[in-house]
């Protein structure tokens, strides 16, 4: 078992170096540089540009830039090109903003998708099943920002509550209860909007997985033994159907940045996705690189965790 874990960790460390190197060369080889963000500014003289390039090490060869980036990241002195703020505290602040949105959306996805999918599979072909399959197709096919705009229109129009941004400006002196209510309204709508797509996709996976397991021989055996239908479904089938979703925990984390760009943009939510988007617009390489790196670390940690869980649950994998 330890052997298995050590081998996996070592593999992932090598992978991490490759990933960061790929990301680094990819970002630096693409056209566009931080010194060219403002080319029309008459006050930018060639000397200034040379000074900027020297300060950001842009004239050094690529592998030296990579070494500089690793050194600065390790010592915590990495600074943003845009405003010379240290990168790590900046990312941490935005991460704390994104976290409630991410957690609430994840909880919504996992608590809705599983019952929906399982019920649909157990009562296959019924009215509920057909309804959920149809509506999940419909929800997958409509872009998230379209639904979000409709939701903003409805919620603002019917309930008269503001939903844009993380809280209403100028509420600092209101009663704590009103502030809390305000925060909740601002949090709930974006979370639901971010969760809808995930619910639609995940519930279809759960449904097909459950259907596959229900067709297995051991389920038929359990039925043939005369067990109660509930025992068959929840005792024998469910556990096996849910096993593959252990791996999905690991792949949830990249969504923290990738999936949230659009929703944070719509709802003006100052989170990680928007930070990434702003960094791309400003060619802020240290932030793009570091965000990519953090996501890669999180993903690898997640897959490592799910691999270990899998190995614990299923001994066949350990022996490979």
């Amino acid at each position: 078992m330890w052997n298995f874990i050590i081998r996996n960790v070592a593999q992932r460390l090598i992978l991490l170096v490759i990933v960061s190197f790929l990301a680094h060369s990819f970002i630096h080889l693409a056209p566009g540089e931080p010194s060219e963000v403002d080319p029309m500014n008459p006050r930018m003289k060639p000397e200034d540009i040379a000074k900027i390039r020297a300060a950001f090490h842009l004239d050094d060869p690529l592998y030296m830039q990579y070494v500089y980036w690793v050194r600065d990241l390790a010592t915590g002195e990495l600074k943003s090109f845009k405003d010379s703020q240290p990168v790590l505290p900046k990312i941490w602040d935005r991460f704390l903003n994104s976290l409630p949105l991410f957690i609430l959306a994840t909880i919504l996805i996992w608590t809705w998708a599983f019952p929906t999918g399982i019920y649909g599979a157990v009562h296959r072909g019924g009215a509920y099943d057909r309804l959920t399959v149809f509506s999940s197709y419909a929800l997958i096919s409509v872009p998230g920002f379209f639904l979000s705009f409709l939701a903003i229109l409805w919620v603002v129009g019917w309930f008269g509550v503001p939903v844009i941004s993380i809280k209403t400006f100028g509420m600092e002196h209101a009663e704590p209860i009103y502030q809390a209510m305000d925060r909740v309204w601002h949090l709930v709508i974006p979370s639901i909007m971010a969760a809808i797509g995930g619910i639609a996709i995940l519930s279809r996976y759960v449904r097909s997985q459950m259907l596959e397991v229900l067709g297995q021989d051991y389920v038929r055996t359990a039925r043939a033994k005369g067990l109660k239908e509930d025992t068959v479904i929840y005792g024998h089938a469910l556990g096996n159907a849910l096993l593959p979703f252990v791996t999905m925990f690991g792949l949830l984390l990249p969504g923290l940045i990738g999936g949230s760009v659009i929703f944070e943009q719509i709802f003006a939510w100052p989170g990680l996705g928007r930070l990434a988007f702003e960094a791309i617009l400003a060619r802020d390489f240290p932030i793009i690189m570091t965000l990519n790196f953090i996501v890669a670390v999180l993903t690898l940690l997640g897959t490592l965790l799910s691999d270990i869980l899998y190995a614990v649950v299923d001994p066949r994998i350990r022996l490979h």
Binding site: Q11, I14, L15, I18, V19, L22, A23, F26, I27, A30, P31, G32, Y137, A138, I140, S141, V142, P143, G144, F145, F146, F149, L150, L153, L251, P254, G255, I257, G258, G259, V261, I262, Q265, G273, A276, F277, I280, L281, R283, I288, L291, N292, V295, A296, T299, L300
Partner: protein, 311 residues
Amino acid sequence: MDQAKPNVPRNAGAVNLDAEGLAPPETPWEEFLRIFKKDYQALLGFLVLVLLLITALAGKALTEWWVVFDPQVVRLTDKFLPPLSVPSPDSIPADRPFAGVYLMGTDELGRDVFARMFQGSFVSLSIGFVAVGISLGIGILLGGLSGFYGHVKLWFITVDTLIMRFTDAMMCFPTFFLILTAVALLPPSIYTIMIIIGLFSWMGTARFVRAEFLSIREQDYVTAAKALGIPEGRIIFRHMVPNALAPVFVSATIGVATAILTESGLSFLGFGVPPPYATWGNILSDGKGFVFDAPGYFHSSPGDFYRRSGL
């Protein structure tokens, strides 16, 4: 029988099999048709797909080659008209739409939304199909290589390790963020978007094809083909690929919809297909700026179309 006539043509064996009733009762194509006809859902989906393709081709033909619906005419007198409205009397007669009705209304420049949707259907679908084609090509190639030649040693690592670690590395990036970075940094064009979306979405296909190949390689019919001395290339492309591809194509159909949606997400952030091309994505995201002034326009635009292409 064969011994009696040693110089019979090569396919005589098949004829004999037919005569003795040993040939399969139906060809694979007939079997496919029989199963397909029973499955109403598949039939419906197929009809919708054909309808969409016809719409896309007609959109290309009627807006560019033989201009019936002109998506680029700007009519400032007819801004933000609701669907099924007629042009105002002071508009220029030559610019009036086909049959004198705006089927889906007009946008902020008075362009006919129906004509733009028509043109956009071709652009959107071609983005979807080209991107999926690229990702399928890369995915099948890499997955097939690591599934079939996985055990071959290159220097110190196996082909399988090399390809699958590279796939893992690509999966570590958040896809949409990566596509966004690439599209934002490269010069904007419709081809860049197609290629970038294709280049960054092959990982799932590669893993899938590899798994299929690993299990198919052990099947009896592949062993039989090997024993018959059939060359490796023919085994791979005639025997293994068709069997591995059926499940891959199922995920590819969803891939087309995903690519179209990715493009619309990029359009929303301002990095989509640049004008003058219309796509379902940028028509929709153009609408977002006016959602509070002219909600009717936003509602009536492409949302419904996405639903259909998702099938």
